[in-house]
Symmetry: C2
Subunit: 683 residues, 2 copies
Amino acid sequence: MPQPASAQFDTGSLPIPAGLSVVWEGTRTALLDRAVGRFTARLAALGGIPAPAPDAPGGGAIPLHIRVGSDPGYLSIAAREQYRLTVDANGIDLVADGPAGVLHGLATLLQLVQAGPQQPSIAYARIDDAPRFAWRGVMIDVSRHFMTIETLKRQIDAMEMVKLDVLHLHLSDGQGFRVESRVFPRLTRVASHGQYYTQDQIRDLVAYAADRGIRIVPEFDTPGHSFALLLAYPELASQAPVPGDRHQVNVAAINPTLEESYRFLRRLYGEMGRLFPDRYFHAGGDEVSPTQWTKNPAIAAFMTQHGFATTQQLQARFTARIQKILQDQGKIMMGWDEVSEAPIPDNVVVEAWRGSKFIASATRAGHPVVVSAGYYLDFLLPASEHYLVDPLDPRASGLAPELAEKLRPKLGAMADALKLDPSATMTPVQDRLVMGGEAPLWTEVVTDEMLDARLWPRSAAIAERFWSPASVRDVRDMYRRLAVVQDELCVTGLQAQANRYRMAARLSPGDAGPVLALADATSPIRNYGHNHLVFHGTKIAPEQRMNTPSDIAAPDSLAAERFDDLAHRYVAGDRSVRPVLETMLTRWRDNDVAFQAVSAGHPILEEARPASQELKALAQAGLDALAGRKDTQWRAATSALLARQDQAVAASANMVVSRAAPQPPADLLQDITPGVRALAGLD
Amino acid sequence: MPQPASAQFDTGSLPIPAGLSVVWEGTRTALLDRAVGRFTARLAALGGIPAPAPDAPGGGAIPLHIRVGSDPGYLSIAAREQYRLTVDANGIDLVADGPAGVLHGLATLLQLVQAGPQQPSIAYARIDDAPRFAWRGVMIDVSRHFMTIETLKRQIDAMEMVKLDVLHLHLSDGQGFRVESRVFPRLTRVASHGQYYTQDQIRDLVAYAADRGIRIVPEFDTPGHSFALLLAYPELASQAPVPGDRHQVNVAAINPTLEESYRFLRRLYGEMGRLFPDRYFHAGGDEVSPTQWTKNPAIAAFMTQHGFATTQQLQARFTARIQKILQDQGKIMMGWDEVSEAPIPDNVVVEAWRGSKFIASATRAGHPVVVSAGYYLDFLLPASEHYLVDPLDPRASGLAPELAEKLRPKLGAMADALKLDPSATMTPVQDRLVMGGEAPLWTEVVTDEMLDARLWPRSAAIAERFWSPASVRDVRDMYRRLAVVQDELCVTGLQAQANRYRMAARLSPGDAGPVLALADATSPIRNYGHNHLVFHGTKIAPEQRMNTPSDIAAPDSLAAERFDDLAHRYVAGDRSVRPVLETMLTRWRDNDVAFQAVSAGHPILEEARPASQELKALAQAGLDALAGRKDTQWRAATSALLARQDQAVAASANMVVSRAAPQPPADLLQDITPGVRALAGLD
């Protein structure tokens, strides 16, 4: 995962002994030597062996031939990423046009590793592979919750393993400005609240990512989402910032009518642009609140004077000037899709986020596009939902028009932006402007210790969408592979499982099992329902404890997916899976006894008792179904039980209405519901 | 844990808000500030909150008064470690004579933390505490398997949490010399095999430990266990070292008749003694093979010439000269108990390891003693076995005399050393010479990723033995607290659980659960039975894969201990625990179905199938017993099943005979056996 463009597997496999003998043809570099070093360390981790020496002389060492060209486009959108890999009895042969292809080939090799009795082996294979899209990213918001460098490096390592190549860092927002500035020291002293990366740390992180073929695209959001910056430099504000003002945190905006704002941003972006060598520079541009500007008399006067009827027009002027500043600094400007609402220079890259229709409108206007609509990880949707969104489909993501109209009183102008456009289409020329996609993770309710489990394994499924042919879309097959990939990521360093254990042990020290068992069969409610304060005037939620079972539960219950898979096999006639189904259901049913015991006297866990009971009821229904129970009374009760779960899913099916609807206990959805429904014959 | 010398708990608890206001009285130092920093970080980890600012001004901040003297004995055997701690509605009051007491008081505070719905709290308490012994150590062998600095730091952090104060590092042995030497660079180039700590790393590690009140006592083993050193400097050898010789790895010894040996060791110990500032310096002295010396004609002639009838006398001369060298360098020499077999200077500290009787003999000869007999963690015994060994009991540990005689043909002279002495006694004067104890972990079959789970939680139980009054010895109560402490260590950074998951996921990627469930109910066979090559001429086992279920299983199954506890409560009449017992037993029984599925085609896991079936049979027997089954046939079958488990335990009950006896499948003991026996009424 991601599945290669073309792969043939032969019977047999190549045992991996203590030594590898790397034979270089072409351009051997220190970067590639380090890549081989990582490869052998990961091979050792996956195989449970000491790291094989990469330059073992002859003897039993496996030859690893690497033929690689030197690619001047490495670490750019033009990097040559294709590779050809052959594993057979003679050894391993890897051919690539440049370093990116070597990294990808080594990542693929690791996924071919099989454990063996004495030593691991690599399956025989012939693979010819290249990505569908050049831009395959994740975005991490380090402003709302700060993430340590160590945590970011773990994500970069995992990204390399699944061939993602862009880490977009959202480095400034209302909650904090996260990079040390020497030009504007108050950004560090005042706007970071003590949580920031030093310039040395940034340089180290950029180099760490570059080693792994990953570009870091920085984002410093303006003119909106700039509360922290404006706390430090209030003279640039449209409305005077008040420390601690929960509303302003999200809406404060820079005054675009002041020449000083542009002088400031020219110097700031210059400093930051030198720290982040990538050609792309994300300047934000999202969610500017019109009243920030219209309620400032000077700005209102400026708009009148320039004949601007809308704040979009004012923002377009701002965007054009920022684009010019960045272009002068050798950068290509990116912005969220709001920047495309009024005409701007067409070389500005538009990140389509509010809906897939912006892919069509932005490319129609000639903009290169990066797609994040449909890939928002903070919606806490299961991987399957993102997996089926194609980056070239302009109708893949958005609010149904009738719903958007219904919600207009609540959404205001946002209703138009979110509304699906059934008439949106793409031409081949437009398709070619789509550089790829990004999965954003906004971190209102994601702490540093939660990041690994919120980003993964879903990002691996999305990586496949961005890399593999569009025809690869079998969800069941994806989940089977996803469980394996997630464990491979954990074995090689990801802390997803480790941190989940820590969170559960904190809630129930000495007996974390029942909490984990509940979390393993459930998922948090979706679409910001779990973000308790999102529709209460602010996106920061300092009062919300992020240490509840729903923070431990993952958006994908891989155990429930496996159960669902087995249940459908059983219903299709495969009786061999029955004992395993019974085991799973028995454990879920019986967990409630243990959960009731550990939750006694612990308020956070007591809140989740009804969820544990619901899991018990579902598991019992599954066991009853396996036992052949079919009477009317049972069917009625089971239907009601299943319907209750459907209502809970439906209640959180839409971001706008979610928190208003009644929520299931402890914000938990019961993920074994579909499998139980299948067994009960009620689907 | 360790339980304080005196503790009173009052009803109520102190909520921990966002701020702590530390009020210092007495000597505030940078070291103490860092200790408070660690305390707040751990408090945050345990409480699931952001780290409270330690100098929050007034408001809702909790006052933490620390009154501390300056102790010139800090980081020495004379450190003043006592402290007094009061937690009540007014805040926290900590009084100590020196930094050690502050560290201990903060460690105790962390164990009083209770999770709460919105914020954690600390239980009201009045504690007056001081250790029973000043020397409370663990020993880690980093020669047989190298351990990274990061891994060692994790152990040091955990040691601080349970008030251990000595980390004895076994830094050289046959397999490698692990510290960079600038005086003798071949030790680094040749004898380390590429795995060593740089001098900078050592200085950093020593400082890291010192910050946490922990002294690092280095050991550079001579004259035996010096194969690696002699590979680099063969001119000092008694027998010419042959690279790769499996026998010599353990027995090669320095030639004690050469003046050059003493010149070499004076310079080497001088260099190493400057790196490790502790006054104590461990020079080894164990397991010198007599034939290494007697078969060298020049050494034999030397012995005749000096009238030495035994090699012990020759070693005593060596020991006396090394003691003089170290004394000249300001060090106090330590050695394993072999050094006390012939008269040596009485200020040499003797580490009693082969049996508790050496505590008596060495103190009778006037030596200070550190006790490791009875605390060998590499025996893979459960915590309870070590917990009940008192450091002052000279008959606590050793081979029964009859058994020793029976094994004499196999053991040779070692039979005398291992033999229990029923007449050994201690006087109060001798008692006072016992400085404390150490739990050694030799790492023949312990890799870096296994270290956390092999060292913990057992070291916490042993820490209690070294710290708490001798009267604290309720095993059941110890296990209840141990499970909680282990989770607290994992929440604050220990990787025991995380690495167990990684090992299981490596064996069964995508479905690690069944492997973990088996490992959670079992433990590895004991007393070097799992060390497959120990009695085959070498202690290194390069062919032994250390990634099997028995490497994942812990010496203590905490789940089985909880089960045993509940089973005995049930038998005593408490019927309320029945549902939980049924849940546990059902899960263990049903796990076999899942284990059989994941093990198919995987040789390492297939080997463990019989162990999984045995677990299933035991669990079924427990369920039958709960269901009231009592018929003769069932009793006979259950008795046979239980007897089989007893035989497996008995077969690994003795280190000398262990590998000879038939071993249970996959080297796994079934830890739920006692609980099942209790339920079956067959005990």
